[in-house]
Amino acid sequence: MRASTLISLALLLACGGEAPPQPIQLNLWHAYRGEETATLEALVAEFEAQHPTLRVNAVSVPFDAFPNKITAAIPRGNGPDLFIFGHDRVGGWAEKRLLEPLNLWSAPIAGAPDLLERFFKPTVEALAYEGGLYGLPLNFKTLALFYDKALVSAPETTDALIAAARALRQRDPRVWGLGYEVDSLYFHAPWLHAFGGAAHFSPDGALRMDLKGAGASMRFAHALRAEIIPPEADSQLITGLFYKHQLAFVISGPWFIAELKDHPSWGVAPLPLVNGSGQTHPSGQDQPAGPYLGVEGLFMSSRSAHKPEAFALMRFLTDEASAKRRLKAAGQLVANRATYADPEVAADPVNQAFQRQVEQAVPLSNSPHMQRLWTPMQRALSLSVVEGVDPTESLAELVKRVEESR
């Protein structure tokens, strides 16, 4: 007994003497679940295999708590080296100096392909704020038009959509034409932008919005609501109706695909061109609907102690091979352009639809002031789109409320 203890102790000591240098530990925070986590962990393992001196600790942080954890942990040095999150908070985080500017990290090097050229351009621009580039895009999210192939085909214009919905409703009044959350700015944005009513904030927080265009978009949506959109439609109801073949079109994003697993006849197409918007598109056609583009970015903490290593992992996770795996295994709409050249990916109608849609999408502003717009806008939409109050009235109140919150 004693002899064996001694031997094992000696062995331990011998090993201790020759211990390899401590590997560098990178912390990566994400809010993924399910397949997305599994894919990310597989990619991280591959990265570790390629870089034996690096260890990556991928930690899943609950989505709701994520922004607060980032703002609390990074300034105190407890934060991650890298993290993955939506781009809409980039402005606020950059103002608080939580993010490492990547302008120099990603600067073009002579003789090598430019790193930023691998992405769709709008997805990169969404991560820039006041001259700084603060992240690399992983995936994008935007709205597209889902439709029930058993009832309708994909329309080119809103007039065609309305006509198809009318025909259906005349045959069976239980069937509705279109489903989306009418009082949410995110879902109203396609019409808002088509009518030229986009909302921006100046750096000092003043709201810039073309109220005429915004009002016109609300009147348009109210007409839709009155005729073809089911009342009080929230996302569960919309999914339920779509499954029962009682809803022809749904405006939703890639997350909706997961809910359609057992639906026999769904298709997806870019959102239609908007008739009667009064806006002229350079192509001479009607104005396309302009949904918001949301980008999931990979960000580096300004307090990271291992920035070169962290940037190597950023390059790795956004390259073509990784993007392909993320798209195929986790169903993410990746921002890496080259991925879509793959014949298998290109043949997929869902990828096609979203890839075409991203060209029309309007990057969601990453200004820290954007947060002040959502709730007042919801009320304005609820007043004018649902109840038909004159938009001049609801928008005047909106402007007042947003101004107040400065």
Binding site: L104, L133, T375, E387
Partner: protein, 511 residues
């Protein structure tokens, strides 16, 4: 308890100690601010002109040229970080040798004719708060406080004990404030938080002094027993409460917090510039909240009491089964109940409208009008609320002696007389606290409103707490929301004072 006056020395001593704790934090802040200013001056020394260059059609610069044509390399990220902060932000501290402590401060400002002038200055890092010392001071003063309060017999015990108690609070608050500075950037510049660190313990002094003096009373063993709870309360409730209270006087605009005095309160009380009947007016929301609370509690009590009386009937069979079934609504998590009821109220597909049309009645668009939406909330919360009152009433009914009823029967009293003259008065001591508790719960019943009507139509069914939530977490106006919460607190304080009077009067009448 002896009604001894606190004396003059006690508050003076408390003031000194608490102000000392606050001043410590304040001096720390002032010092780092002075150093920052010195750095800005120093950065005027050796400077580099750096020109950002856009290329490739991107909206942000991708190359940076230092004077003389040198291009910055990725290793110059600290320079890049500077360039993107404008001159208004304080200079950044950089750890160039990687030892974890900053050793160089840089400042950049836009140069004439484009580009940025970047300067650097070596730095001796500002010392952090002497945490060890503060902890020792806290332990020492806690010990002193306990000793003075429990063991030391002399006449100085009261004042000194109160003083050390205030010092404890001051230190605890200073710890909290220094953490809060990280959460609220910019607040440090106003100096208001350190000031609050000194003032708030003073405000609490009165309560504490009374508490300490009461420790001299013969019942001090009882006070010793509740001391752990008091300490827990002060850390978990008093400190966040004080922080929220302080927050109500600030406006946070994304980068800095600015002291705005009472203007949030004034704005809220001036109906936010809306007509009083507008759903976003404080008075409208207050009216909805009061109606909500009064109707709910009335329904909870009458239904709960009614069922309790039925369940007490001696001839009723399967009582246990009913009792369990009736408690189920209470046992189910209220989020789930709320979501189920919201689905049932859906105008087109909800169970309730299906039922109405099966009966040949017209469907109701529940969430399209304020009254019906309010009714939907009320029905849901009644479903959730009556079991509690039922349980309370059942318990209280058990304790009413049967012989009282028998005597009443002998006297020829009818059922209503027995209820009015025996049951109700004897239930009162048990029901009154339950009603007060229930009304405070209902007043702040966030989940039901937020999940069932969601404020529809147009915030007209929101109650005060939901409105405060929307201001804080949907619009991120934390100061304004804090002011809202303080008003809610004051209302409930007023309410509890009134109910205290009422229950005291009741005690005198029936006790």
């Amino acid at each position: 308890m002896s009604p001894r006056k606190p004396g003059l020395l006690a508050p003076l001593f408390a003031l000194l100690l608490a102000a000392g704790a606050g001043a410590l934090v304040y001096a720390q802040e002032a010092r780092s601010e002075a150093e920052r200013l010195a750095l800005l001056q120093a950065a005027e020394g050796p400077q580099r002109l750096i020109t950002p260059i856009k290329q490739g059609g991107w909206s942000f610069p991708r190359r940076f040229e230092a004077k003389g044509g040198a291009i910055l390399s990725p290793q110059d990220t600290h320079v890049a970080a500077l360039i993107f902060s404008t001159e208004a932000t304080p200079p950044r501290l950089f750890d160039l040798d990687g030892d974890g402590a900053p050793d160089q401060a840089l400042a950049a400002r836009p140069a004439e004719g484009g580009g940025f002038l970047v300067g650097a200055a070596p730095l001796t890092p500002p010392p952090s708060l002497p945490w060890g010392l503060l902890c020792v001071a806290l332990l020492f003063s806690l010990g002193m406080w306990a000793w003075l309060a429990f063991a030391y017999p002399g006449r100085w015990a009261g004042p000194l004990g109160a003083g050390f108690g205030a010092l404890n609070l001051g230190l605890i608050f200073s710890f909290a404030a220094s953490r809060a500075l990280d959460v609220l950037p910019g607040a440090r510049l106003s100096g208001a938080l350190p000031l609050a660190a000194a003032l708030i313990p003073l405000v609490l002094y009165g309560a504490l002094g009374a508490y300490t003096r009461s420790l001299r009373s013969p019942h001090r063993a009882a006070f010793a027993y509740i001391a752990p709870a008091m300490i827990g309360m002060s850390v978990l409730i008093l400190v966040p409460f004080a922080f929220g209270f302080g927050l109500a006087f600030f406006r946070f605009n994304g980068q800095t917090s600015e002291f705005v005095g009472l203007s949030h309160f004034a704005h809220i009380l001036a109906s936010s510039g809306y007509a009083i009947t507008h759903p976003l007016s404080f008075y409208y929301t207050l009216f909805v909240t009061v109606m909500w609370t009064a109707l709910n509690v009335a329904l909870h009590v009458s239904i709960g009491l009614g069922i309790a009386l039925i369940l007490r009937e001696p001839t009723l069979r399967f009582k246990g089964v009913y009792r369990v079934l009736l408690i189920v609504p209470w046992a189910v998590p209220n989020y789930i109940t709320a979501l189920i009821w919201r689905g049932m109220f859906n105008a087109e597909y909800g169970l309730i409208n299906h039922g109405l049309s099966a009966l040949g009645l017209e469907k109701i668009q529940w969430f399209s009008a304020p009254l019906t939406a309010f009714a939907a909330n009320l029905i849901t919360n009644t479903w959730l609320g009556f079991p509690f009152m039922m349980v309370v009433a059942l318990g209280a009914l058990q304790s009413i002696p049967r012989d009282l009823y028998e005597a009443a029967d002998v006297d020829g009293a009818d059922g209503w007389q027995k209820f009015k003259l025996i049951t109700l008065p004897l239930l009162r001591p048990a029901l009154l606290p339950a009603i007060i508790l229930g009304s405070v719960w209902t007043f702040n019943m966030f989940n039901i409103i937020y999940l069932v009507s969601q404020g529809r139509p147009n915030n007209s069914t929101d109650i005060l707490i939901v409105e405060a939530y929307r201001v804080a977490f949907e619009q991120e106006r934390y100061g304004y929301a804090a002011a809202y919460s303080v008003l809610i607190f004051l209302l409930l304080l007023l309410y509890s004072r009134i109910t205290e009077r009422v229950s005291k009067a009741a005690e005198e009448a029936y006790g």
